[in-house]
Symmetry: C2
Subunit: 394 residues, 2 copies
């Protein structure tokens, strides 16, 4: 008798699982965007986003991906030929360096080995040595290496200078504590398809006071669609400069309602507890963690050595998917690191439960053992359950 396919669990670090009410909201008949009904919805989405970003300042809603939104921030707040300090400790930090390379901004690069976090004193030293730096870019949660940096400390240091801090919060906002206003983060960028539980297609840019001032005084790099001035002017009228993805705005509204119902602090706590449980399970399986400063939004581990020469990444993840319905990510390549084929990554962001996580860890253990790894059966779920249980008991 053929068994029915297992339930599908999307535990990739973006896109993430979209809750049923959000899918339903996206499927509602279209309304026009130049109407009172849409403007009201849009204003409410921006208000709820600001609460998740922990800011009183405007959050702009840009059509496109997180990359679109981050490039808009990069390009709009500095002129060509000026200097940016750019931190990279993984693929996404490197991407923001590529953007400045492409649009003609000079860079002082802070390159950190993959798996380690950018340190606040490295940023302080770079700022000291380059008083003309106009912006600092940093990735809060570097998804390619599952690493978090101390954004609060970095913001404090940048805040003492005339440079602006542009932080990539694409896999931190909504997943981990981020206090934009309290920490003094000038610009905070996010995308819809991570902890904010929507399909990809919207990028978000929050602009603090110093960023708004800079925007008013700077010409920026030559761009049209990504010139943040257009988006800010329109947002002040609860509008967008170009036709927005209406159905996605509706979906984001529904997702933000779910987040508020749970309470953002509870979402952070749930995410942290799933991350702790996963780290306990990886440790119990004696897997080497990817990061020495692990983020709570996702976890990564190196494949173990096996008698037959290691685990085949593609085959392993195909088995997880086909036999267990578990979708996780592999590793990525970059200029300064190469994790493709060497690691796997599992997301804790957004619509993920303890059950999802335990199911994933059980399947991971099974398939690693199947690939020849020496793991004592049951240790992954035992360790994760204990971690979850001890937290619940507190």
């Amino acid at each position: 008798m053929a068994s029915s396919p297992p339930p599908q669990r999307l535990l990739t670090p973006g896109p993430t699982q979209v809750p049923e009410p959000v899918l339903r909201a996206m499927a509602m008949p279209l309304i026009h965007h130049r109407t009172g009904a849409f403007r009201e919805l849009f204003a409410d989405v921006r208000l709820r986003l600001a609460r998740v970003f922990r800011t009183r300042h405007p959050v702009l809603v840009i059509s496109g991906s997180g990359t679109t939104a981050f490039e808009a921030a990069q390009a709009s707040l500095i002129d060509p030929g000026q200097t940016a300090i750019t931190c990279a400790s993984g693929k996404f930090g490197e991407r923001w360096q590529e953007v400045y390379e492409a649009i003609g901004v000079d860079q002082v690069r802070i390159d950190v080995p993959w798996g380690r976090a950018v340190q606040a004193d490295q940023v302080a030293a770079a700022l000291d040595g380059h008083r003309d730096a106009r912006v600092v870019t940093v990735v809060h949660s570097e998804t390619s290496t599952a690493t978090v940096c101390d954004l609060k400390a970095i913001a404090a240091i940048v805040g003492r200078t005339d440079a602006l801090l542009i932080a990539d919060g694409i896999t931190s906002v909504g997943a981990m504590p981020v206090e934009m206003d309290q920490w003094g983060v000038d610009v905070l960028v996010c995308g819809s398809q991570k902890a904010l539980m929507l399909t990809p297609g919207l990028g978000y840019v929050a602009l603090g006071e110093r960023a708004l001032e800079r925007l008013a005084q700077t010409k920026g790099c030559p761009q049209y669609h990504l010139d943040l001035r257009r988006w800010l002017d329109a947002a002040r009228k609860d509008d967008t400069p170009f036709t927005p993805p209406i159905s996605l705005v509706r979906g984001q509204h529904a997702a933000l309602e779910l987040i508020e119902r749970e309470g953002i602090e509870n979402v952070w706590a749930r995410t942290a507890s799933l991350a702790a449980a996963t780290r306990a399970a990886l440790k119990a399986m004696r897997l080497q963690p990817v990061s020495d400063a692990p983020a709570d939004s996702l976890s990564g581990a190196f494949y173990p050595a096996t008698p037959t020469g290691g685990v085949d990444d593609a085959r392993f993840r195909a088995s997880l998917r086909d036999k267990h319905g578990i979708h996780i990510a592999g590793g990525q390549d970059g200029r300064l690191g190469n994790y493709a084929g060497r690691i796997f990554r599992i997301s804790h962001m957004g619509h993920v439960s303890a059950d999802d996580t335990l199911a994933a860890l059980a399947a991971i253990e099974t398939e690693l053992r199947g690939a020849g790894a020496s793991i004592y059966p049951g240790v992954a779920v035992a360790a994760a359950s204990e971690s979850l249980g001890s937290e619940t008991a507190v």
Copy 2:
């Protein structure tokens, strides 16, 4: 007894009505974009798009709006300081001029009064006078003025030179006959939310042979996200350079299936017949058409004079919406024309039936009469029905 609200008919020239199967496809659980399942879907969407564009060449699928896609084409195919011939006969032609202004490309502007079409001999004269022109931009169907130009004739003229033709087909592709390869259009741009019956959020750029050559030889204006080379390289592997709006790609697939089921020629014929019927109705109401070269994708008319000083646009459209469930557009402002408050526009693109159109015309007549316009009752629907009937009888 309170009556229930009327059925809602979205007859704005974008966003347009999204068919039920497309909404359902958008609400399906998410799949990851770096999988065989997504790549297969994506390849099929691009193939079906190419059939609608009538091209054998690659169609790129860009996250964002039609504006995003058009700017990508503009920026990627010319270097800063080089010369573009830019045609404007309405708000969208003017927008493409603003883009080149923003990104530092020199322009020879062909400005045509609103309501008239750019003529092929104007383009020929400009090319004659500016042999160094690298591109010509033109809007096939200018939505702000409901005007169509002779794209085939313009393409023939540009094709004799070294300049590339970048055509805005945002409200023509899928609505009116456009033969990209046969006419020799080098670059054809469209958006998802018009005749392609999806919510906004995807832009399309089709690149002909000469455009592909140019792309390989040109550095382009400094952009990262909108550099078409990235999109082309990824597309050749059935991939996208950045996380794509997965749910929208699924929705577009469903919409393209509907278009193929009806047959693109039949879609064109239906659109043309609704446009003809609407023009007959507007004429019967003795309204002045906005355009002297009307497009079939939408129709526009000036508000009539009334004894009390004319029709109030906002009040008129609010009545249409609230009393009849009919959503149509007003006019737009631009550098060379000002139609705001002076015209109304009704779409024939995509998922629109004869019933929708007759209902809209009946409501328009009623509300114009209510606003004091001198119109003999019933003439709009009578004229439209006759037009539709005579076509059916043929």
